[in-house]
Amino acid sequence: MHQFRFDPVRLPPEADALRREVREFIAGESAGGAFTPSRNSWSTYDADFSRKCGQRGLIGLVWPKQYGGHERSALERYVVTEEMLAGGAPVGAHWIADRQSGHQILRNGSDRAKATILPRIAAGECFFGIGMSEPDSGSDLAAVRTRATRSEGGWKLRGTKVWTSNAHRSHYLIALVRTAPKEEDRHAGLTQFIVDLAHPGVTVRPIYNLYGGHDFNEVVFDDYFVADDMVMGGVGMGWKMVTGELAFERSGPDRFLSTFQLLRQSIDAIGPEPDSRAANEIGRFVAHLATLRRMSTSVAGMLQQGAQPNVEAAIVKDIGTTFEREIPEVFRQLIPTEPTLGRGATYPELLGMTMLRAPGFTIRGGTREILRGIIARGLGLR
């Protein structure tokens, strides 16, 4: 049986200083009117804010200085991300590039990709989307049908990606594409490409979400040309890379802080003298949150030491997103209000917006059901 490990981690002293620095930065930006902290932090696109983060040295924290990074530890990066999320900062523009794409390029990208792309990500000027899902390939990622065929000096891509957040305002995406026919091993023959969205042969169309917002897109490749040095790692290595980034994608504080602003404001709406039911619900959420932080920090520590704690990450995401979704469901019954459509400027609007976003929490980045399958495999059941 797999022994789950959530080793204790002590945040290094320099992380405390960085935490204070980030907190002051966010407070200053918020006070200066640059953003309203009630919005959904990592889904909120704000290129100006991302550029300021870049100028402050808050993106690409763990990367080498050679590529614009800051050579800090994964635990310091952890502290920055959780402060951004808890402060409700609009980090959506650079989030994917910082969380996973840049990391992938650093590990698997060509020298040209590293030299031309990473410094711009770190400067907060270059944003990425995720090109994994397709119309017929969501949870079953190995079913991707977008194909790449050999062309002189590179590859030509044909096919369609969907649910690509921010493709209409990002510079690149990393696309998972089939480069060899599906044989007995479905996971072979997949390759990742860096796609420049400004080049010809790629069309981005909006997919509006249930409340009329535009984050998602459909991205169509029509003989889109990718040069050989924008292939990630080796041809056929796509599956290994995709699964290798899962622990980064699934274990972070973005998997349990999506509704933190609602928790905060619900505590204030209830007031300083809660009745016993309200006190118990608040206490329960705080107990969950403190425990999730511990587990998530622990995974960050293991990642820093080079481990690949995919099962632990799946556990954090499963429990964390369940926690996020419970928050609006519980407080709507404790605070006499009705959820209201809007941008989150008032409590009823914040509640309404959170409720409408909540179904996504347990779908994006791996559905709850897929995660439970991964955990079951870790338990030796599959």
Partner: protein, 355 residues
């Protein structure tokens, strides 16, 4: 990438030895017949004697107090393992009593010691004479000594008393562990001393020990459930091959992992004295996990888990008991919730991050 101090890990070799020691004692002295006779009310003298021989009940006491000089974390590791093995002995209570007595500068007597889980309202100590009642004292009819908190002239004191003749009746918790109702009427105490915040300290420390025990019992519940899902065949395959069962076990494992993390965090924060917030978080979170895990484990085990024959009930009946002792989830959630609400939403994040 700088390496930093990512690890606050304990001494793995020492813990491995400790685990082997605990396992060896239980292999030799805790057969099913011992568990059953303990539940019938017989003191498991052989098991307790073996535990004393290896020094576990006093593991975390300073060497000057007759202890083995282990760290608090190591002692809690051993306690957790004993709960994994569903030990029918007052090991947690004796460790807890020793910790409280040491904190108050009192001598720790030999043998098993229990703790009366009531606040200072339960007892008065006047001119060296103790009066009052304590309901449901764990193993209070079988431990010769009890540690309790009493009101005295100068405020709260921690007192050590003999239990002989004090038990008016004996209840049992769901695991069949004795919970004795003790009555003292102008009884002499062995010793007493002031201890800051004594009643709170006793409740927090008691909750912390139960958290550690639940973490151990939860770990065992997961192992039993996985083993059963792999061996029980229905419709031509082990039930663990069915997705419905796999998802139940994935949820179970997540709850066990969360409970384990919460227990570790509380122990780390409480080496000197129990940390109010971390203990409250742990008891609330682990108590919730205990209920969910026991429910799923029994569902997976089907009728077999409902029998006396299978060993699952030795851990699940303890979980159902321990989650309610030294404050249930609602008790600790309420404490956290009132404190958080009083400070307002904007104070929550700084409190969680300690900055």
């Amino acid at each position: 990438m700088t390496t930093g101090d990512a690890s606050a890990a304990p001494d793995a070799a020492l813990r491995d030895d400790l685990q082997k020691t605990v396992d060896r004692v239980f292999d030799a002295h805790c057969a099913k017949a011992v568990r059953e006779s303990a539940e019938a009310g017989e003191w498991p003298a052989g098991l307790w004697g073996a535990l004393e021989e290896v020094g576990l009940p006093r593991a975390a006491l300073p060497e000057a107090a007759g202890g083995a000089g282990f760290s608090f974390g190591d002692a809690m590791f051993a306690l957790r393992r004993s709960a994994y093995l569903a030990a029918p002995v007052p090991l947690a209570e004796t460790m807890l009593a020793g910790r409280l007595l040491s904190a108050a500068g009192l001598e720790v007597p030999d043998g098993p010691i229990t703790v009366a889980p009531v606040g200072a309202e339960g007892f008065t100590l006047s001119a060296g004479k103790l009066s009052g009642d304590a309901p449901r004292v764990p193993w209070g009819n079988q431990c010769p000594h009890v540690v309790l908190v009493a009101r005295a002239e100068g405020g709260e004191v921690l007192a050590l008393a003999r239990t002989e003749g004090a038990a008016t009746s004996v209840d049992k918790n769901l695991a069949g562990e004795p919970r004795a109702n003790l009555h003292f009427e102008r009884a002499a105490v062995v010793a007493s001393a002031p201890l800051a915040d004594a009643a709170q300290r006793l409740t927090r420390d008691g909750a912390l020990h139960r958290c550690v025990q639940m973490a151990g019992a939860l770990e065992r519940t997961l192992e039993y459930s996985l083993a059963y899902a792999n061996e029980r065949v229905q419709f031509g395959r082990p039930i663990g091959k069915f997705q419905a069962i796999q998802h139940l076990l994935a949820v179970l494992a997540g709850q066990v992992a969360a409970a384990s993390a919460a227990a570790d965090a509380a122990v780390e924060a409480s080496a000197g004295a129990p940390d109010e917030f971390m203990v409250a978080v742990a008891k609330a979170r682990i108590g919730e996990a205990a209920g969910k895990v026991a429910e799923i484990a029994h569902q997976v085990h089907g009728a077999m888990g409902y029998t006396r024959e299978h060993n699952l009930h030795y851990v699940t009946r303890r979980l159902w008991s321990w989650r309610d002792e030294f404050g249930n989830e609602a008790f600790w959630q309420g404490r956290i919730g009132r404190s958080v609400a009083a400070n307002g939403g904007s104070a929550l994040w700084p409190m969680l991050t300690g900055t």
